[in-house]
Symmetry: C2
Subunit: 185 residues, 2 copies
DNA sequence: CGACACATGTAACACGTTACATGATTTG
DNA sequence: CAAATCATGTAACGTGTTACATGTGTCG
């Protein structure tokens, strides 16, 4: 649900062809989220079918160039003008679901699950900070570098929150084990 | 990619039928993520097709009862035994993508986008804390209540991290505007 | 020449959502 | 009786992934 709008937003800054869209998408997010070229073309077909973009208009090099329509422009404005919905059913959080089910399952060593996850998340966190230190994002001058830097920060913030939550879960479970709690189920 | 494993894990605690699986899933996650009943049946069909569950064995009330196979049990063990992958391409973050593209787009008021999002996320955060105060999660005694409590905590931690990130973005952009930066593009 | 990047697609599949169809049982 | 809940499914669609097919241009 985000590739569609992202491609549309990129197209609004000037007509582009498919391969170019992938390149620009990856540049602006610092190659954090690789975008399969196949998906670019299928998404463009659907956008065209829905009247949000039109193909046509040579760029003098024989590329299949797309540009936004009025409806497409409206869609982009709506995207930027409204927040990503964070109320109502939030997107499913696999980790939270996993722990929730693990807790009420005998035969599952919840402590171990938590420790495994923390190790993995900390490794990811270290990789993100390493990238920040070493990359263009270290001294962002161009807007694209700033964008990359901020994307990396988002990943860092998310990872830190996840680790804090895991610690929190561990503490709650430990307290439950020592005080009344006892065995579950 | 999480409903499949969740249903499988629930089935490993005893044979169940479709409707029952939805109820249990929602109970254990405190109705945070409603699960469409249609998806339960299609997922069960696919699990059966893949040899992870088998249908059959009456429960004495004419329900279509499923139970895990050996392969299904292995799948569940693998799920609990390995972390949710947080390295390599992390799942696409719509908000991060949106801001990254917005930053390198003239004609987009990034400040406004950030403020809109912060308002929405703070509203969601308040709703989560309200639920925590008022619900069963306030004094978790049963394991399911603890699970719900922890799920709510996860949502709170995520929302807080998002707000911190938005503040961070705003600060970086403000600094860029006052110091050298100037207009982009 | 051979490998690699550029460039455009198609097909098959996985997962998820919504809406529809159908019927039994329970409860006000 | 009417409405709600329990219960099982199917169909159509949206989005995303992987793999395959095909061809051009460039560079060592």
């Amino acid at each position: 649900m985000s590739v569609k709008q992202a491609l549309l937003a990129l197209l609004e800054q000037g007509p582009k062809y498919g391969y170019q869209l992938r390149t620009e998408f990856e540049e602006r997010t610092g190659s954090t989220w690789p975008l399969n070229i196949g998906q670019v073309y299928t998404t463009l077909s659907r956008l065209e079918r829905d009247g949000l973009v039109v193909a046509g208009g040579d760029d003098g090099e024989g590329h299949v160039v797309y540009r936004t329509t009025e409806a497409g422009r409206a869609e982009v404005d709506a995207w930027f003008g409204s927040p990503v919905p964070r109320d109502q059913p939030p997107p499913r959080d696999e980790l939270a679901i996993k722990l929730a089910i693990a807790i009420s399952s005998p035969d599952v060593d919840v402590e171990y699950v938590i420790q495994q996850q923390r190790t993995a998340t900390m490794r990811a966190l270290q990789e993100h900070t390493r990238l920040k230190r070493s990359g263009r994002a270290a001294r962002p001058e161009a807007p694209e570098d700033l964008a990359w830097s901020l994307v990396l920060d988002a990943l860092v913030f998310e990872a830190e929150a996840e680790i804090r939550w895991l610690d929190h879960c561990e503490a709650r479970l430990a307290r439950l084990a020592t005080t009344g709690g006892g065995t579950h189920s």
